[in-house]
């Protein structure tokens, strides 16, 4: 089965006054139709830049590689083509719904406008669809709230409105960039349940970007762990979560406070993520890795199959066998 989105050897760099920032350095991944890929990584790992580049939102960046979406190459596509895809076929939602909604226009109007920009429908029909969408995402009193301004919505409701807008044109792919980070856990749980039910109803594929391993445990089919612009590990979520191989992935799990560990000190990953202006030679994680040995400093490890599982791959020079997480 060919993937809905197939990204190969993506490289993105930004020329800055301090030098060229290599934000994404040779990243490949696939998203299958109707499935959820979770991209996890820390600040500056390149996870947001990756998705923004795919939809043509990184201006001034130097890009190479290819991104096939549903039979079309996105990186070489013209701005017009991208504009027609963005919103209609690939929808995006972001962390902060207050700054993604225009403060001076009514919520309903903004969704109507998105529909009218891509389809030839009357305002009235578009409004009817908007109302239905707002109901679908669980806005109470939708017929009244449709004419509210964004500031009259709570944080959770704004994110629901953003999801309604994203779904308005029935996209094939929804890119959600930290959609629940600014929300309370209770609201976060509501939004995750909503995204899962929407995926079931509409068959939308989702790319979920987050730094929260817990959020992905609840919804991702596949997981991609990024560090310093590269894939450290990827595979089916249960495989990566139960038997993580890469020391960075295990480090992320170990740094979490979890139950049954009492008040013992946590195990942080020492040091800081590297600068991407002059990234370390070899494996980018080697300066912080506790298993570092000679090859790590010299050569960049390829993504190899772990435990013979072709889907579960890890970019590490250690033997490709994993152990279950404690």
């Amino acid at each position: 089965m060919s993937a809905l989105l197939d990204v190969r050897d993506l490289r993105v760099s930004f020329p800055t006054a301090d030098g060229v920032v290599e934000a994404v350095r040779g990243l490949s991944f696939q998203v299958e139709a109707g499935k959820t890929l979770g991209i996890v990584g820390e600040s500056g790992s390149g996870k947001s830049v990756t998705t923004q580049t795919i939809v043509g939102l990184t201006q001034g960046a130097e890009t190479s590689g290819e991104a096939m979406f549903d039979g079309r190459e996105l990186l070489a596509a013209s701005p017009e083509v991208l504009r027609s895809i963005r919103g209609a076929e690939i929808a995006l939602i972001f962390q902060d719904p207050l700054s993604s909604l225009h403060p001076q226009y009514r919520v309903g109007w903004q969704i109507v406008e998105a529909i009218c920009a891509h389809e030839t429908v009357g305002k009235k029909a578009a409004r009817g669809r908007t109302l239905e969408l707002l109901r679908r995402v669980g806005i109470p009193n939708a017929e009244r709230r449709i004419d509210d301004f964004p500031h009259q919505f709570s944080g959770g409701m704004r994110q629901r409105a953003m999801i309604a807008m994203a779904l308005a044109l029935n996209p094939k792919l929804l890119i959600a960039d930290e959609p629940t980070t600014a929300l309370d856990v209770t609201v976060q749980a509501q939004i995750i349940e909503l995204m899962k039910s929407v995926q079931e109803d509409f068959g939308t594929a989702i790319v979920m970007i987050t730094h929260d391993l817990g959020v992905l445990a609840d919804m991702a089919d596949d997981v991609l762990v990024m560090y310093a612009g590269q894939a450290m590990e990827r595979g089916a979520r249960p495989a990566v979560y139960r038997r993580p191989h890469h020391p960075y992935t295990t480090g992320l799990f170990d740094a979490l406070p979890s139950r049954g560990r009492g008040k013992a000190l946590l195990t942080p990953i020492p040091g800081l993520p590297p600068s991407l202006i002059d990234p370390p030679k070899g494996c980018p994680f080697h300066p912080r890795c506790r298993f570092v040995f000679d090859p790590c400093r010299r050569d960049q490890p390829p993504l190899v199959a772990v435990d013979g599982d072709e889907r579960h791959r890890s970019a590490c020079w250690l033997p490709p066998t994993s152990e279950p997480r404690r």
Binding site: A255, L266, P270
Partner: protein, 341 residues
């Protein structure tokens, strides 16, 4: 953070109320309405313990912290710190107490003045309280930097030259400068990445051991609060609805709100073969604190609410002989727990 807490209260809050007038200022547009940010909270912070405070946005946890440290004047109620009632002290009379209670804030980017050097930021408390100056101050600041894991040679750098985690260390050093007894940490790690977050949590734990500090730890990440706290207070709409030892609160919540909050935690260690217990999804949003619901404030969203709940406000009291206290007429039964214990 398990230093011996001998049960004696360092801070003692009684019926603390903090209301904010709506639309105060020139035009008074609120028509006399008030936000009931904190509405009658009584709780002790014991010497040497870490008291966690959790709750959704707008439940009043930060306001409570600011009342506790008297950054806000109370509307009514009292705060006793180290045996002395400080609720009505003037700013001048408060000064000696300010030495003993400090705060660490969430955002290490906005809580440090970008134009001042790190050395002078950390040295500020000494300057403000005229305790030491000159070479002695520099020596003390460098000592503090070393204590929190910063390179003392970076004394003359600006905050922009540090990463988020290092900046939070600067905030910790500043809070420690005057050897306080109490540190109120308001979301100290929420802005940090997981790997860095663990560094700061460990640092706070080690400092508590070394210096015998008492912490009030506010965070919305429940697994972090569970890890650091000896006891946890759960707040909802300006009220404390449950207080229990950390492990007990997670294993056996009594208040339906606590139960719902715990069930919302995304679980990394979830087992795919075992079906996850049905999440208790709370309907709607937190009601407005301007006109909070009658009776139990949680009743409009509570799965267990009955008529009594909308009329009679439940008292915060022990449930079935446990040490935990909860404010609920119909506490959670063992069969209704949202998470496996």
């Amino acid at each position: 953070m398990n230093t011996a807490s001998n049960g004696e209260a360092l801070v003692h809050l009684r019926d603390v109320v903090k209301h904010f007038p709506v639309g105060s200022g020139l035009f008074r547009r609120g028509g006399g309405e008030v936000v009931h940010a904190v509405d009658g909270v009584s709780i002790d912070v014991r010497r040497g313990e870490t008291l966690g405070i959790v709750g959704e946005t707008g439940c009043g946890k930060s306001t409570l912290a600011r009342c506790m440290t008297r950054l806000y004047d109370l509307t009514s109620g009292s705060v006793t710190f180290d045996g002395r009632d400080i609720s009505l002290l003037s700013p001048r009379d408060l000064r000696p107490f300010r030495l003993e209670m400090q705060m660490i804030f969430q955002d290490p980017y906005n809580s440090l003045n970008p134009r001042r050097r790190v050395g002078s930021i950390i040295g500020d408390p000494f300057a403000i309280h005229h305790s030491v100056d000159g070479a002695e101050r520099k020596r003390r600041v460098q000592e503090l930097m070393e204590l929190v894991g910063l390179n003392p040679e970076h004394y003359n750098r600006f905050p922009a030259e540090f990463s988020g985690g290092q900046r939070q260390r600067i905030g910790v050093a500043r809070a420690l400068a005057l050897r306080p007894k109490l540190i109120v940490c308001d979301e100290p790690v929420s802005a940090l990445d997981v790997s860095i977050q663990a560094q700061i949590i460990n640092l706070l734990a080690e400092l508590q051991q070394q210096l015998g500090l008492t912490y009030v730890f506010i965070a919305h990440d429940l697994s972090v609060v569970r890890h650091v706290s000896d006891r946890i207070a759960v707040m909802y709409l300006g009220k404390v609805v449950e207080v229990a030892r950390a492990e007990e609160l997670f294993a056996r919540p009594r208040h339906p709100y606590t139960n719902a909050l715990l069930s919302a935690i995304p679980e990394v260690d979830r087992d795919d073969e075992v079906a996850r217990p049905q999440r208790i999804l709370l309907g709607g949003d937190v009601p407005s604190p301007i006109g909070p619901p009658s009776g139990c404030r949680f009743h409009p969203r509570c799965p267990k609410a009955r008529e009594r709940c909308s009329v009679e406000e439940p008292a915060l009291e022990p449930k079935d002989g446990a040490a935990a206290v909860a404010a609920c007429h119909y506490p959670v039964e063992p069969g209704e727990l949202a998470r496996p214990a």
